[in-house]
Symmetry: C2
Subunit: 445 residues, 2 copies
């Protein structure tokens, strides 16, 4: 039997009905914030992704040489495409542009739990606004999606600021901050001993190692107090940040870290306005692997830590410039379908995998087919979803089918009632039946 390719999925109607509910709720939340749908090609020149992620991206993509000899790829993510689009119209677009899209993406990697070769991803971004107000709105809309799905109490959003940890690392003696961030990103994978070896190798002063470990495991509610604590920790770095220990001059790293902490403070007060601060945590261990982030970074997890990140994102003010000649600030996130479905299922919030139909029109005699079509037509004109028997089945089988398609009401055209100019209507939820005059049902005669 022919199967879908590994890591690809077929969705039959019942499952799709549940998925459509999931997608509708996600999109509904985003639209309430005034985000606008856009659409991009699913195939792009490979250079677009190399531009953002370097040549290694090729390994992880469904890329190929097309029949015209061009290196192309199924898009593994949306950001380069929207960056290209923003860049192409940078001179005519009014900012901010608030965009969303829900589409398929593809990655050539080993399929595993929550990670498939073909997946859906909702992307939500604000372009052209470089401030904490837009950072707050992006996080608020992410939480609004979780609320729309009914899983807001199952999740936690870890927030940090790229320049906070970068600044701290600089203060601690690191020269190659990118490399250090990369090591921190792999901390849990490589283990504590190997982590210490590698992080010392990039220049952390040995006497500050314990302090770094402490900061990396810092995770508290996203409150003024927690941020004040971090600010204090940064201020304590001042003696180390200076090249001359006797003069406490502010190095770029120190002031960047302090500035980042102040931004987080403002963000915290804004998240309070949105009444979403309880879903947020300040987590200095969060660096997100992607080096293109320039400001806040965040990741949403299920509280039990059973699954991969539900969504993740941040501010990336320098990316769009790569695709054109204008710097346009941006903040956004992406949320895949697979992990959301896992969380919904685990928390018992997954949608019933069943069909829904307003009316099924049954008839006991093939002579009544014309009447069935007319009744169905009238109900469809009123906006109802209606099925009629297409297989000349007996009434029992018609009811079985009506049940399978979740018909709320079955209209039965039978000999006896019809003699009196009536049809029967059965409410499938309550089991109640009533008869109705045909001339009421079809007033036009």
């Amino acid at each position: 039997m022919l199967q879908p390719l590994r890591g690809f999925r077929d969705f039959y109607p019942e499952t799709m009905a549940a998925r459509r509910k999931m997608f509708d709720r996600m999109i509904g939340a985003v639209r309430k914030f005034g985000f606008r749908e856009i659409d991009t090609p699913s195939v792009e020149g490979l250079e677009l992704f190399k531009l953002k992620s370097g040549p290694d991206i090729v390994e992880e993509t469904f890329s190929f040489v097309d029949k015209g000899g061009r290196e192309v790829t199924l898009i593994p993510e949306l950001t380069p495409s929207v960056a290209r689009m923003i860049s192409a119209r940078r001179k005519v677009l009014t900012f901010p542009q608030k965009w969303y899209s829900l589409g398929k993406m593809w990655r050539y990697e080993e399929p595993q739990s929550g990670r498939l070769r073909e997946f859906y991803q909702l992307n939500v971004d604000i372009f052209g606004a470089d401030n904490i107000e837009s950072d707050a709105e992006i996080i608020a809309v992410g939480i609004e999606i979780m609320k729309a799905l009914g899983i807001e109490n199952e999740i936690m959003i870890k927030i940090s600021h790229r320049q906070l940890m970068q600044g701290i690392l600089e203060c601690m003696g690191v020269q190659n901050v990118e490399e250090a961030m990369h090591i921190i990103d792999r901390k849990d994978k490589i283990g504590a001993e190997e982590f210490k070896r590698q992080i010392l190798a990039v220049g952390i002063r040995e006497e500050l190692l314990d302090k770094l470990m402490e900061l990396l495991s810092f995770r508290k509610e996203f409150t003024k107090e927690a941020i004040a604590e971090i600010k204090g920790a940064v201020e304590n770095m001042l003696p180390f940040s200076s090249k001359r220990r006797d003069v406490q001059e502010m190095t770029p790293g120190f002031s960047a870290a302090l500035h980042a902490a102040e931004k987080l403070e403002k963000l915290s007060s804004y998240l309070k306005l949105y009444e979403v601060e309880n879903y947020c945590a300040l987590d200095l261990g969060l660096v997100r692997g992607l080096s293109y982030y320039t400001g806040i970074v965040f990741e949403c997890f299920d509280k039990q830590g059973a699954f991969r990140a539900i969504f993740g994102g941040g501010r990336y003010d320098n990316l769009i410039e790569l695709f054109g000649d204008m710097k346009i600030p941006a903040v956004g996130f992406a949320i895949g379908d697979a992990v959301v479905e896992q969380v919904l299922r685990k928390s018992g919030k997954w949608y019933p995998e069943k069909l829904e139909t307003d009316f099924f029109v049954a008839f006991t005699n093939q002579d009544f087919y014309p009447l069935a079509v007319r009744i169905a037509k009238m109900l469809r004109n009123q906006g109802f979803s209606v099925e009629i028997d297409l297989l000349k089945r007996n009434l029992e089988k018609q009811f079985k089918y009506a049940d399978r398609v979740g018909a709320r009401r079955v209209i039965i055209i039978g000999d006896e009632e019809l003699k009196e100019g009536k049809v029967r209507i059965k409410n499938m939820e309550t089991g109640e039946q009533e008869t109705m005059d045909l001339k009421n049902l079809l007033p036009e005669g």
Copy 2:
């Protein structure tokens, strides 16, 4: 500047708003008939398409060898995937299964008007029902889509039956009917002279050539009378259909043609029940190139013939067997986005390419940002789409933005009104303004 690949499209918010309306109307029509959404992979093993269409399909697809060494392709059409899905669950599915999906497909061909390398296609199929009732429903739903789009008076559906022309050809002496159908399909391309030469070469009796030409150009309203005319023409074939001219025995070709005409007769009476017969024409010249059709075939065109087919389909009862071991009858059609958009635009029915927003919350002073967020939050909770100023703009620029996003109402938080505990609300359609007590707008205080 980086561009999308040739034959691929970027859709910005304004255009996408119009496209979403088009898609919603199309899907709304299909759902009223009780069709259920399904979803398939966008990449499949190439053998799936070779099975249906032969090895030549490779030329026209975005196919490639994946990193695992497997021949795969971006799907150029949906039918093989749904046939695979139906076949995989043939033993557990209850029939009929009425499926639809709206998704992207890809063809590697020269981009031209109404034909792109990446396009959207809505597929609508009924599986497991082998009768004229389902044929009629499929055509009715096709016309319902045209009505939902408001272009039902711009279009005409040509209908024929594969076995009608096949039977006539057999009666006329053709041995290789497939080949003859193929020649007929290319009739307009190759010109009358070349057509006559080729069609005579596959065995048409010379004395019947004029009769064939006459039948091929037969196109009349889809009425009983027109079908009776064709039935008469078929009956006139009887003398030719027999091997022995003195004994009028019915050959398979003759009886197939007669049977097909009777089916069309029944279809005609059913289309009358749906009150869609006026949109239909009986057209014997319609054969549709794809040889897998086994019953009715149809194509929907704009009446002026300015564009390619809007949608096309038919009955294909032998296809699903290719993907499994069970014969499952099927009838359906596919409708692409590009031609529908062309017809909508030409007939002045294309949707406004503009954004819509329920509320924009403007404020004259950054101190009012917290109040703006609270008002926006309250309105979003009521289901409205709401934007607030994110760029600390002056009021004039905020109104310009509100206008661009099509805000129906602007709430203005200004110093003067706020002193009295009020905000102003401007109706952007009428220009009317009123003030409102904050405590009415935010009753929770």
